[in-house]
C-alpha cells in the first residue's frame, strides 16, 4: 500500500491491501454482531418476560456492561487466550477469531439490554392477548421477538456501530498483523501514529461510508417491512 497515496486514489484504485482490510473488518464486526444477536436477544427476552430474585440487579448490570471499556475487554481476552491462560491451548491469540470473541463480549450486553427493553415494552401491550390465547412461555418469547423485529433491527445496528468503531480490544487480541488481523480501525490507529495521515483519512472515509451504507440498507429494509406488516 502506498503510504503517500491520497485517500481518494486509494479508494478509487481498488488497492487490494485496502480492500482486504475492509473485508476483514466487515467479517469480524458482522460475525460478532451475529453471535451477539443469537446470545443477546433470547437472553434479553428471558429477562424481560421472567420474574426472579435479583432481576433488577441483572438489568442494572446489563445496562452497565453496555459501557464496557474495550481495552479492558481486550486485556481480559488476551489473558484468557495467551499461552499460559485458561484457553491458551486453543491457539486463538492474534487471530481474527480472537477479535470476534472480544467484539462479541463488547456487543452482547448492548444487544441484550436494548432487546430487553424493547421486548418488555411490547409485553405490556400483548400480555393480556397472549395470556387469553393461552400462549405458553416459549411461544410468548418467539412471538415478542418477532413482533419486536423492527426495534431489534435498530438494536443490531447499535451493536454493529459499536463493533465497527472499536479499536482498543481488537488491537490487543489481534495484534494488528498486516494482511492477517489488520482492520480499518487498527490500521487508522497505526497510520496516524506513523504520521501517514492521507492513508488514515482514506481508511476513515471508507469506514464511515460502510457504516452509512449498512445503516441505509437496513433502514430501507425496515421501512419496507413496516409498510408490509403495518
Amino acid at each position: 500500500m502506498q503510504s503517500d497515496a491520497s485517500a481518494l486514489d486509494l479508494i478509487l484504485s481498488g488497492d487490494p491491501a485496502l480492500y482486504a482490510i475492509v473485508r476483514l473488518s466487515l467479517i469480524v464486526s458482522l460475525s460478532a454482531v451475529a453471535i451477539s444477536a443469537v446470545i443477546g436477544i433470547p437472553f434479553g427476552a428471558l429477562v424481560a418476560l421472567t420474574r426472579f430474585r435479583g432481576r433488577e440487579g441483572v438489568i442494572v448490570l446489563l445496562n452497565t456492561l453496555m459501557g464496557l471499556p474495550p481495552v479492558v475487554v481486550g486485556l481480559a481476552v488476551y489473558l484468557a487466550l495467551s499461552r499460559s491462560g485458561p484457553l491458551g491451548s486453543l491457539g486463538l491469540l492474534f487471530t481474527p477469531a480472537a477479535m470476534v470473541v472480544a467484539q462479541t463480549i463488547l456487543v452482547t450486553p448492548i444487544i441484550a439490554a436494548l432487546a430487553r427493553q424493547a421486548i418488555e415494552d411490547l409485553w405490556q401491550e400483548y400480555c393480556d392477548e397472549l395470556t387469553a390465547m393461552n400462549v405458553g412461555p416459549l411461544g410468548r418469547v418467539a412471538t415478542l421477538i418477532l413482533e419486536a423485529r423492527f426495534s431489534l433491527v435498530v438494536t443490531l445496528l447499535a451493536g454493529f456501530g459499536r463493533a465497527a468503531a472499536e479499536v482498543g480490544a481488537i488491537i490487543i487480541v489481534g495484534g494488528n498483523i498486516q494482511g492477517y488481523t489488520r482492520t480499518m480501525t487498527t490500521a487508522i490507529a497505526l497510520e496516524t501514529s506513523k504520521g501517514d495521515l492521507p492513508l488514515a483519512l482514506g481508511l476513515g472515509a471508507v469506514l464511515i461510508a460502510i457504516v452509512i451504507a449498512v445503516n441505509a440498507l437496513v433502514w430501507f429494509a425496515r421501512r419496507a417491512g413496516e409498510n408490509f406488516a403495518g
Partner: protein
Amino acid sequence: MRAASSDLPIRFDAVTVRGDAVIMLDRVSVQIEAGAPTVLVGPNGSGKTTFLRTAMGLIAPSAGRVTWGGAESAPPLRRAFVFQRPAMLRRSAQGNLRYALAAARVPRVRHDARIEELLALVGLDGFERRPARRLSGGEQQRLALARGLARDPDVLFLDEPTASLDPAATKAIEDIIRAIAASGIKVVMSTHDLGEAKRLAGEIVLLHRGRIVERAPAADFLGAPRTGEARAFVAGELLV
C-alpha cells in the same frame, strides 16, 4: 369442532378481588349459564372489567373461587376475550387469525378455510392481506372478534366492544354479536351504554362498587327494576 366438555357454567363463589388499596370485586356469587347474552352494566370502577377478567381466568381471586364447567383450574381453551382496545400483531389480518388458530391448536390444514369463514362472518372479506394495525378502530374490533372466534369458544367475553366507535361501526359490531349469540356461543359483555344493553341483552347484571346490585332478565331489569340503583340507572341518572 366442539369438545364434549364445556367451560359453562361459570360459577363465582364469594369472589373477592383486591387491587392496591381498593376492593374491585366484593364477595360476588353468581352463575353464568349458556343462553342469551349477559350484559354487565354499571359506572366506571364498578368492577365490570375485573368481573370479565376474573371470569376469563386472567385475574385470580383474592378470596372465594371460580369454576368453569365445575373445574377450578381450567386453561382458557374454550373461552375467548375481546379487549376494549385489542392489540393486533404486526402482521396481516389473516396473519393475526392464523396465529390465533395456531394458538388454539387448530390443525394447519384447516387454517385457510377457517380464516375465510371468520373474515366473512365479521364482514372483512377481502381484507386478508391488509396490515391489521392499519385497519380502522371498528375494523380492528371486528378482526378481534374473529380472532376470539378462532378458538371456537363456549363463551366469549367482550369488554366494552363498541366504546369509542361511531354509530355505523357500533351497528356492525352489534350485528356480529347477535350472530355469535345465535350460533350458540355464550356472550358475556360489558357496556356503559344502556341502549346497547337494551338491544343485545338476554339478562342484565348491574354492578356497583364491586358488588352485584341487581341481576334480572333484560325485560324485567328495564321494565321493573327492583333496586334504587337499578331504577336510577334505567332512568339515566348518574350512578356514583
